[in-house]
């Protein structure tokens, strides 16, 4: 894959927890600036696929490469937004410090956080509006404000690949528009985006949409993949399981 320009490539990929596959036969390729949106209900496999791309879960079969390497091997070049970080509602640390954590992947264990890093942190908070409450503790903020802080942390990583697990969940209209704008700005800079979501509207600007229901139900550009039949199957999956 050394001379490959693809940011992410998956061939016959099987993903799951432990030895239990959740989705198999996944195949796609993304080039710099492209976006793949994974749509499905809870348990459909979209977060599992995303975690496999981050390296948090090992692939159960097939091949997958992120920036030409195995997932998880280039933390400074790949950023991940988890669905909802575990201690969000008890953490006393201020937003600025949470966003600064986005620079840790680049600086490692002992590298100095310098003025350039602090500038990146400030800019990232300004882009999400989190600068308005930079000195307030995370636990005192509403869910939407917390999500903006976590988004700022992801942006502060200045990575080439963004892996976002339901970044718009629970956000109001303004918050959703902000996320869409941020993703568009990042893509314009050549950043590749993979986003998991429940919302069909989030797929409007995607290059590729993948509908999941513990299998790949449909895949392709939004216009061809988001058919009534495919959507019915994806959203009936919840009723059956």
């Amino acid at each position: 894959m050394a001379d490959d320009t693809r940011s992410i490539a998956a061939v016959s990929l099987a993903v799951g927890h432990g030895h239990r596959p959740v989705v198999d036969g996944v195949g796609f390729a993304l080039f710099p600036g492209q976006m793949l949106v994974l749509i499905g209900t809870n348990g459909s496999g979209k977060s599992t696929l995303l975690k496999t791309l981050t390296g948090l879960l090992k692939p159960q079969g097939g091949d997958v490469f992120v920036l030409g390497e195995r997932p998880g091997s280039q933390p400074a070049r790949v950023a991940y937004l988890p669905q909802h970080p575990v201690s969000t509602y008890t953490l006393p640390l201020c937003v600025e410090d949470i966003v600064t954590m986005g620079r840790f992947a680049r600086r490692g264990l002992l590298g100095r956080i310098d003025s350039d890093d602090r500038q990146v942190v400030r800019e990232s908070m300004q882009r999400t509006g989190a600068d308005e409450y930079a000195q307030r503790p995370l636990r005192d903020l509403s869910g939407g404000q917390q999500q903006r802080a976590h988004l700022a942390q992801v942006l502060a990583r200045r990575s080439e690949v963004l892996l976002l697990d339901e970044p718009t969940a629970g956000l109001d209209v303004a918050g959703r528009r902000l996320v869409a704008d941020l993703i568009a700005q990042e893509r314009a800079l050549g950043v590749t985006v993979v986003m998991a979501t429940h919302e069909i509207g989030d797929a409007d600007t995607a290059d590729t949409v993948m509908l999941l229901a513990q299998r790949v139900v449909a895949q392709g550009p939004p216009d061809s993949a988001l058919t009534d039949a495919a959507l019915r199957e994806v959203f009936r999956f919840t009723e059956r399981h």
Partner: protein, 281 residues
């Protein structure tokens, strides 16, 4: 008395550093389990006649290894594994201790400490432990902070959650082993959690949380020793009780501040019900 105050202040600072991460990461139960896990090790050391500190270290290591094995091999939740090992180790400690001729006295000393019996050699050992704990916390501050937010975030930032989680536990274990002779295994958790929890009420940065915790721990040590001396009370218990009282006092001050803020028409963020823009999707 001065030696005791010096020893408890070293314990207070050591516990402040380790306790800040215990509170941020929600490891209080693990801290409690470690504190009780050292009891059989100390009991064996007392019976056989080797160093109580070495026995405590072995006890803590066995406790953590046991939790890891039960947790991984039998698919039980972490708190179940910890609860199981915690009572098992405590019971084993009491059984071993009951073989001793001076059972009651030894057990009391292990559980509640001997603040007034500390020697310079204890203080030197505690000082070494303090330097080690501060060193580990400083070097590993980034993965430790990431762990307090999310393990997935830690891993995707290039730090192994397992490796740094274990280092954090080893740091807590060292703190417990270094502190139990002064405040006892039952009460060391109080010094780990109460000052750090007070720090977390006020601190917005990890450094502030640690500094407030260290100050609360030191003041608790001084006031606790003073009260125990004049009222003839158990010294270790007095220190920990003062630390918990200081947390309660801090919580009351914060509540009064919020109440005054509401009266002036300033709404505190905590007053907003967390119903809008939640991200639990």
């Amino acid at each position: 008395m001065r030696l005791s105050l010096f020893a408890t202040c070293i314990v207070a600072v050591t516990c402040a550093v380790a306790g800040a991460f215990v509170v941020l990461r929600g490891l209080s139960f693990v801290g409690d389990a470690l504190a009780h896990g050292v009891v059989p090790g100390v009991a064996v050391a007392l019976l056989v006649g080797f160093s109580g500190v070495l026995g405590a270290a072995i006890g803590a290591a066995v406790m953590m290894a046991g939790v890891g094995v039960v947790n991984r091999r039998f698919s039980l939740s972490r708190d179940t594994s910890i609860g199981l090992l915690f009572v098992g180790m405590l019971a084993l400690g009491v059984i071993i201790q009951s073989r001793s001729a001076s059972f009651a006295g030894d057990l009391t000393a292990v559980l509640f400490g001997e603040v007034l019996g500390v020697s310079w050699s204890d203080i030197v050992w505690q000082g070494v432990a303090l330097v080690a704990v501060v060193g580990v916390a400083w070097v590993c501050r980034r993965p430790f902070l990431l762990l307090s937010v999310d393990e997935g975030l830690t891993a995707t930032s290039g730090f192994s959650p397992r490796r740094y989680g274990n280092i954090m536990l080893a740091m807590v274990a060292l703190t417990v082993v270094a502190s139990f002779q002064t405040v006892g295994t039952l009460l060391v958790l109080g010094m780990l959690v109460a000052p750090a929890a007070t720090g977390a009420l006020f601190g917005r940065r990890i450094s502030t949380v640690i500094c407030v915790a260290a100050a609360v721990g030191a003041v608790s040590s001084y006031v606790g020793l003073l009260v125990s001396y004049h009222a003839d009370l158990a010294a270790g218990a007095s220190i920990v009780f003062v630390a918990v009282l200081m947390f309660c006092l801090a919580a009351v001050v914060i509540e009064v501040g919020r109440w005054l803020g509401r009266r002036r028409g300033i709404r505190h963020p905590h007053d907003h019900p967390h119903v809008h823009e939640h991200v639990h999707g």
